[in-house]
């Protein structure tokens, strides 16, 4: 049996807002196999974004056990989590989060620059660009791209360093139906072609059903 690429046990995360303690995750346990497409579905405030941030190394857990590709996040320093974000995980956000002053190609290039990735597979990358259908939009800045195009550029950026895990947080949340379906098609297709693990957060059960091998539901900081 292959080891889990994501292995979470009894994960807690508590935020402190002044003197108020806000428990966001209350004992989450979850395992994900390499290459699996997992959808996490839940209402606002269920803790799915917090789980996403912890898996992505954007914030440390308060307690519990989190192993990502064999690395224990609880033991990891801020610098260690930074290195993990460079190569192990790639993010796709609801609001696209492209750098507005750079072109699409430069937005993708800067991810490689940050990771110090000079030996990337050009052919594979060109194939991804072709699959995403943004080959003729690479020299445009975000303001000149449609929402769907921006999200496809963001997906290309997330894949620029060939991460083992793709984290997509409500990737269709800011898109119309046609563009949403196009993005879901791309995510599903890339997961099948590249075999990388994909976690998608969504509140849309139909989107989860369409893409995911497995769906987990969250409510009140727990998997239900």
């Amino acid at each position: 049996m292959m080891p889990f690429i994501i292995d979470i046990a009894d994960l807690h995360k508590t935020y402190h807002l002044g003197r108020v303690r806000v428990p966001a995750l209350r004992g989450v346990s979850l395992t994900v196999e390499p290459g699996e497409f997992l959808a996490i579905v839940g209402p606002s405030g269920s803790g799915k974004s917090t789980l996403f941030h912890i898996i992505g190394g954007l914030t440390p857990p308060t307690s519990g056990h989190v192993r990502i590709d064999g690395l224990d996040l609880a033991e990891m320093s801020d610098a260690g989590r930074t290195r993990m974000r460079q190569r192990t995980v790639g993010f796709v956000f609801q609001k696209f989060n492209l750098l507005p002053t750079l072109t699409a190609a430069e937005n993708i290039g800067i991810a490689r620059d940050i990771a110090g990735n000079n030996d990337f597979d050009r052919l594979q990358f060109d194939n991804i660009i072709s699959l995403l259908g943004i080959g003729d939009r690479l020299h445009h800045k975000p303001f000149a791209l449609s929402g769907g195009e921006q999200q496809r550029v963001a997906i290309a950026r997330a894949l620029a360093n060939h991460p083992k895990i793709l984290l997509a947080d409500e990737p269709t949340g800011n898109l119309d139906t046609a563009n949403s379906q196009a993005v879901l098609d791309v995510l599903k297709d890339l997961n099948g072609r590249l075999g990388q693990t994909t976690l998608m957060i969504t509140h849309n059960p139909d989107a989860a059903d369409f893409c995911a091998h497995r769906i987990v539901h969250m409510k009140d900081g727990k998997i239900v």
Binding site: H53, G56, L58, T59, A79, T82, R83, M84, R85, Q86, R87, F91, F93, N97, L98, L99, P100, T101, L102, E106, G109, I110, A111, R112, D113, I114, A115, R157
Partner: protein
């Protein structure tokens, strides 16, 4: 790629970039102009002293600094005594009065002796003194005060006729007869300094030794040594003044850059979050801010050098007696100072950006 991001960041907010560049430019201009003015005036004074044609200068023992104005305390009889020394070709004495409002001096000269020593003044209009209350002025002073031959100029509540206008470069901008100045200022029989010309200039060190033995405690210099003392470090308070101006200029640059980068960081909070989500380290973020600041400073230095040429032109057009000397070595020093100030100003915003929490930054609207 990061350089592209830095460049695009600067182009994204052209007004802020322009203001920052201009602020650094003003800082550079301030430094170059103040230093250039100080050096220019000193170099001009040095050049005019070299134009006297003497080999040795003797000044009273009470003159505080080599560059200080001599009070008229030397006996006029010393001129004859020096002239009678076997290795001396000739000697002549002068008195000097500072026109503090104009940063220039009036010199009382024995025009015949001074002309023999210096090779003579070159008259552009008029001629030498004819009467006790005649003055000879140089072209720069004539332009500054809009004076022509035959017109009057007031000195010590007396009217002096402009007898001649000469080429600048020899000793002073305003000459009046030595005896007139001695009478008006109560210095009869006294001199401020005595210039000595030798038969053989190679004997200057030997004659200086002889004079020092004869007049212990007097300030006696070769003209080469004396003119080399015309430097910023030898003028009491000048180097302090320049340091204060440089300090003010650096403070301006520091504050403007700090404010500019701080607002840039605030505005780009979300972008910093994006970079962090891509795995940008704290050093990477600091590097972006530092590179951006360095580029601003470099542009500011270029603008400042151009501005300083503009300032030089304006000053010398409006005040011909002021000489602004823009030395290239000071382009480098001023640039170094500006870059240092800008980097200090960028440090806090850079560290603040680097320490931003990525989740909070990504949520920033």
């Amino acid at each position: 790629m990061v350089n592209r991001l830095v460049l695009q960041n600067l182009l994204h907010r052209p007004i802020r970039t322009l203001l920052s560049v201009v602020a650094v430019g003003v800082e550079i201009t301030l430094i170059l102009t103040v230093v250039g003015l100080s050096q220019g005036l000193l170099e001009e004074a040095s050049r005019r002293n070299r134009g006297v044609g003497a080999d040795i200068i003797v000044r009273p023992s009470t003159t505080q600094a080599a560059m200080g104005l001599s009070s008229a305390e030397l006996s006029e009889k010393l001129v004859e005594k020096f002239a009678s020394m076997p290795r001396v070709s000739m000697a002549t004495g002068t008195t000097v009065y500072m026109l503090t409002n104009y940063l220039t001096t009036i010199t009382g000269v024995d025009m015949d002796a001074f002309s023999r020593m210096s090779g003579g003044l070159k008259y552009l209009a008029g001629g030498p003194f004819e009467q006790p209350f005649d003055a000879v002025i140089d072209q720069v002073w004539a332009e500054q005060r809009k004076l022509q031959v035959g017109q009057s100029m007031e000195l010590w509540n007396r009217q002096f006729r402009v007898a001649g206008i000469v080429e600048p470069g020899k000793l002073s901008r305003i000459f009046i007869p030595l005896t007139t100045m001695q009478d008006l200022l109560g210095w009869r029989g006294k001199l401020g300094q005595i210039y000595i010309k030798l038969k053989n200039p190679d004997e200057t060190p030997a004659v200086i030794d002889e004079l020092k033995a004869l007049l212990p405690g007097y300030n006696i210099f070769s003209m080469a040594e004396f003119t080399s003392l015309f430097s910023i470090n030898n003028i009491a308070g000048l180097s302090t003044f320049i340091r204060v101006i440089i300090g003010l200029a650096v403070t301006i640059g520091f504050l403007v850059v700090m404010l500019s980068m701080y607002t840039a960081i605030l505005e780009r909070t979300r972008e910093i979050g994006i970079l962090k989500s891509l795995g940008a380290s704290q050093f990477y973020i600091i590097g972006i801010v530092i590179r951006e600041t360095f580029l601003l400073a470099l542009l500011g230095i270029g603008v400042g050098i151009l501005f300083s040429f503009g300032a030089q032109g304006i000053i010398q057009h409006r005040f011909p007696i002021l000489v602004v000397s823009l030395h290239r070595d000071w382009w480098f020093y001023a640039g170094l100072i500006a870059v240092g100030g800008a980097m200090l100003g960028a440090l806090y915003p850079a560290v603040r950006a680097a320490r931003q929490d990525p989740i909070a930054a990504l949520a920033y609207e």
